[in-house]
């Protein structure tokens, strides 16, 4: 059984009811709602500043099958100002800043998310790829388009919550 090693930087808000497993570092200003689960299975998870992780969100650090059994332990670094909305599942090996994962979306463990991306509600992204900056995925067919600037919702939403 893996030992839990959780570091919470002052200023972060982590609810007791959330499920945290493994080596996790949580940056200042980040809010983790009850019943969110963050599971560091393959290696440590570092969450940046001012992220918002809502209820029933699952952030799982799990490696693809072909990359397992390697000596180096990879670190999942989640940048700042990311929003994980209710009931989304994110297994991406790398997440930049200012991303929005909308409700009930699914991001597979072969997808690298850069900055300013929006994964729309209910969209499933599993194919191996690197999402370029400011990509927006939406609709039942997971249409993709490039936005002009980063989504500006994250800070406002957090202010409303506090």
């Amino acid at each position: 059984m893996q030992r839990n090693n959780i570091k919470v930087i002052p200023g972060a808000l982590v609810c007791e009811e959330s499920k945290l497993r493994g080596d996790i570092t949580i940056g200042a200003g980040t809010i983790i709602h009850p019943n969110a689960s963050i599971i560091a299975e393959a290696g440590p998870i570092i969450i940046g500043e001012n992220c918002l992780i809502e209820e029933q969100v699952k952030i799982i650090h799990r490696l693809p099958f072909d990359q397992q059994n390697k000596d180096t332990t990879p670190v999942l670094i989640i940048g700042s100002h990311n929003v994980f909305e209710v009931d989304c599942t994110v297994e991406a090996p790398k997440i930049g800043n200012h991303n929005v994962f909308e409700s009930k979306c699914f991001v597979g463990n072969k997808v690298t998310v850069s900055n300013g991306c929006i994964i729309g509600a209910g969209c499933k992204v599993t194919e191996e790829q690197i999402l370029k900056e400011n990509i927006c995925i939406f609709g039942s067919n997971c249409q993709m388009r490039e936005c002009i600037d980063k989504p500006a919702v994250s800070t406002r939403k957090q202010l409303l919550l506090i």
Partner: protein, 507 residues
């Protein structure tokens, strides 16, 4: 909802011969017949915008090409766009008291498209007079439209002229039967051709070119940027410009929605009439079959094997306030065929009679014609026999049945619907004597019926099994105009078809 949109297992045969699930059918109380959307006359009641719920008169709707003047949809994903505030800093930063300047832009909550993406400047007012795109071909289109309008006018005039020559008994296609030229003749002014109508000016035809622009050289070498190219849907949303790249997508005015009323073609009574107010979802008249015809729902069936009898359980629900008795008969598709043939025959006789009466009238009115030397009788005639719509002829039911239903000998009663029964557990006692072979269980206005079905012996595994029967129920007519004192009752028959499922293998 899944019941309404879900798989169509139980289908009712409309009077016209089409098969539809019950929620899609209507019931004309005046003819006491089932009608479907194909054998009803549709009419547009009102136009309104689905977003701002504004009622728009039909003339204005036509003028605006059936689009709302205020609401716009996203050119990228066709969802409605909303206005967003972007506050820029104060007008002069030195003066702390100066008001913050607000500007507005359009944004799509769904795909995060904004009007800034394509370089539309932010507007100072929230209602936003968003810049309209001029169509580059507007002049040519207008020219073509004008010419067609001229052609239409001149053709109309020609028709009138030719009618004048033939004179007699041609009914006008116009609903009123009174055209300008007919009026002129009636008041005794000589019928002169309309001064305004000229011969249409021929249009410069579009010229076909064999030379087209060469493909740009880099088309095969440059990598394709899918992000910058519009989809077919996006292009077809803007037929005037059909942009190739996403930077030419502009907000589109939202298309209007209509409310329509449905009218029975036989008796001309309204079957469905919505309320005029766009925000209201209610109806003034709603004669849906769902409220008059007992609803049949499929409950369960034993595994179906070719040539072997299985037990089928179906549920009957009485939607009306009157008790009804249900009898199950054989499907008898031949009867329907006969009915179709009869209707055809009636039609022929009708036509013949009409032709006869027309001739008679012609003969009768001949002397007067000679005297007045006008086509007045013809216009009068056309006024009298105003046939508003084409009556849909019934057709054969196009559904093969490959399963036999054992027709029960007894009938069963469905009590009236009682809305309070659901909250009342005590009233579960019935004084209805049921045939235990037929009725399995019953509660308030519902009854579960057991039927024996036998799929045809020559069916193979995975073949779809379809069975059907004729249901007869007692329909109680409650229209005060027709019924004087007592509710008028009579038997109404409807054919019902079931898709039972597929044949499974032997035990």
């Amino acid at each position: 909802m899944s019941y309404i949109t879900g798989p169509e297992i139980v289908k009712y045969a409309c009077t016209c011969g089409l098969l539809k699930p019950l929620p899609e059918l209507y019931f004309c109380r005046h003819c006491s017949q089932i009608r479907c959307s194909f054998c009803l006359c549709h009419a547009v009641d009102s136009f309104f915008c689905g977003k701002c719920s504004e009622n728009i008169p039909s003339a204005e709707a036509r003028h605006k090409k059936n689009r709302c003047a205020n609401c716009v949809i996203c050119p990228s994903c066709q969802q409605e766009l909303s206005t967003r505030v972007a506050s820029k800093g104060p007008i002069n930063p030195d003066d702390a008291k100066s008001a913050v300047k607000k500007s507005y832009y359009l944004s799509c909550h769904f795909c995060h498209w904004t009007s800034r993406d394509v370089g539309i400047p932010d507007q100072p007012s929230a209602t936003g007079c968003w810049p309209e795109r001029e169509n580059v071909h507007i002049n040519r289109l207008q020219e073509v439209l004008d010419v067609y309008q001229d052609i239409m006018l001149s053709q109309q005039q020609q028709k009138e002229n030719s009618k004048k020559k033939r004179g007699k008994f041609v009914s006008y296609t116009d609903r009123t039967g009174v055209t300008a030229s007919a009026l002129r003749r009636r008041i005794g002014i000589p019928d002169i051709p309309h001064a305004k109508i000229k011969k249409p000016k021929p249009l410069d035809p579009a010229i076909a070119k064999s030379e087209v622009e060469e493909l740009p050289e880099d088309i095969f070498t440059e990598p394709l940027k899918l992000m910058e190219i519009t989809t077919i849907d996006q292009r077809l949303m803007q037929p005037e410009s059909q942009p190739l790249t996403v930077d030419k997508l502009f907000p589109i005015h939202k298309q209007l929605t209509i409310k329509r009323s449905l009218r029975c073609r036989t008796c001309e009574h309204n079957v469905c009439k919505p309320e005029y107010n766009p925000t209201s979802v209610k109806f003034k008249i709603q004669l849906f079959a769902y409220y008059y015809i007992p609803e049949i729902r499929f409950v369960t069936v034993e595994p179906l094997r070719a040539g072997q009898t299985s037990e089928l359980i179906i549920k009957f629900t009485n939607p009306t306030q009157h008790q009804t008795t249900i009898t199950i008969f054989d499907l008898d598709l031949e009867e329907q065929e006969k009915y179709v043939e009869e209707q055809k025959l009636f039609d022929i006789i009708d036509n013949f009679e009409q032709a006869m009466s027309l001739e008679e009238k012609q003969q009768l009115s001949l002397p007067s014609l000679v005297m007045s030397s006008g086509s007045q009788p013809s216009s009068m005639y056309s006024l009298q026999s105003r046939q508003p719509s084409v009556i849909v002829k019934p057709r054969k039911i196009n559904q093969a049945v490959n399963c036999n239903v054992a027709i029960p000998e007894s009938t069963f009663i469905l009590p009236p619907r009682d809305d309070a029964a659901e909250y009342d557990d005590s009233s579960d006692v019935h004084n209805i004597e049921d045939d235990p072979k037929l009725v399995k269980w019953r509660k308030s206005n519902k009854a579960f019926i057991k039927l024996a079905v036998t799929p045809a012996a020559d069916l193979k595994i995975d073949d779809e099994v379809v069975c059907g029967f004729t249901m007869q129920h007692i329909y109680t007519n409650v229209i005060p105009a027709i019924v004087e004192n007592m509710p008028h009752k009579y038997d109404h028959k409807v054919r019902v078809f079931f898709r039972l499922g597929k044949i499974v293998g032997s035990e």
